[in-house]
């Protein structure tokens, strides 16, 4: 278990480094710190989803404390106030590394609803009593990620 976490952490950090290198390669638009903060938030969501997904896939042992903590952290991340993060004028093309579609602002209500969907799905995961229950709950969490990315994330830079 401990080893799995260490390996995963190292992998996650390496992915982060590679991703940063990739981002650095594309310089469309102006630098904006909110974009970096958004990416950090997304990485946090991916990290915690990874814990739940690892259990669902049978790669990690089920541990109720870990599952609940991961689910609650995702719900909290999804519930963050978006005012500081999604600042108008930081869409793809306007801000460096951004893949945010203009629909985030033109359809702010839909964007908010998409985050609420993730919050609901993650909250429902809290208390999942075994790996099968985690697997069943993953459908809604993955679905929330995918639906939001489909509508509000642009193609790779």
């Amino acid at each position: 278990m401990q080893k799995t976490f260490t390996t995963r952490t190292v992998t996650a950090i390496m992915c982060g480094v590679l991703a940063t290198a990739g981002f650095a390669a594309s310089h469309a638009g102006e630098e904006n710190k909110s974009v970096t903060a958004r990416h950090a938030m997304m990485q946090m969501i991916a990290y915690h989803t990874g814990i739940l997904g690892g259990v669902a896939k049978g790669e990690m042992e089920y541990d109720s404390a870990m599952v609940d903590a991961a689910a609650m952290n995702i719900a909290s991340l999804a519930a963050m106030d978006r005012a500081t993060l999604w600042i108008e004028g930081t869409e793809q093309g306007a801000a460096t590394d951004s893949r945010a579609k203009p629909e985030i602002w033109s359809d702010a209500e839909g964007f908010g609803a998409a985050f609420e969907k993730l919050e609901t799905a993650a909250s429902a995961m809290v208390g999942a009593s075994d790996a099968a229950a985690v697997g069943a709950g993953m459908g809604d969490i993955g679905g929330a990620c995918k639906a939001c990315h489909e509508n509000y994330r642009g193609p790779e830079n």
Partner: protein, 291 residues
Amino acid sequence: MLRRFLIAICLLAVIGLGVFWVLTRPAPLNAEFASGHVADVENGARIFHAGGCASCHVAPESEDKLTLAGGEGFASDFGTFYAPNISPGPEGIGGWDLPGFARAVTRGVSPEGQHYYPAFPYTTYIHMTDTDVTDLFAYLQTLPVSDTPSKPHDVGFPFNIRRGLGLWKLLYLDEAYVMTGEMSEEVTRGRYLVEALGHCAECHTPRGPIGGLQRDAWLTGAPNPSGKGRIPNITPQGLDWSADDIAYYLQSGLTPDFDSAGGTMASVVDNMSQLPEGDRAAIAAYLKALP
């Protein structure tokens, strides 16, 4: 002298036209197609999802994934193709019979005897079994009708001469599978799902100058026809995911790094997630068995 020369030219032209006419003739289909098989609508639904029909034939931006009104545009080097209405009404396939449907899906020939453009992946569907085609046809009859007329393709000369597609088919419409040799039952099932239904190769395999798939570079990735980015190599040379990772991705849309599927793959995951678990595992086994 000149007269004889002109006659010779005319004769050659007539012979040439005749040969072209014969070579490009839409092929007929066995009239006893699937006779004696009682259609299984439930299996038809599975073929519908595995074949990804909805991904192209649902109206753009529509959330209703079962009304196959058509209208989605597909840009290519030859022009823009628009998916037609294939709902079971007068604007779609309402008046069609089974042999006509089978010929359309597996040979790319309309009931009026006209070649379809290979934007419709009949080069994949040619491998579909007769009973699966029958079940799919029965399932499509259960879907809602749309009155939206099909949009004509936006294709310029010479590609707008559909008869010429007969020659293209001689080159690229091939009944042989790409993966051959000894393989497990699971990989065989995966081959059917990928090569006969899922038409993964349509995007993941590079194309030659006239749009034929390069079968010797099968699933090794290709430029994105939208012009932005590349469709990835999904052979073991290009994708180091485990078979479980691949199957889980097709089910959940989540990559091993827990990013989510993007672009047109999101729609593919919508379809694949509705298949039985064993089918997704079979697709993964097939991809892992590629060179």
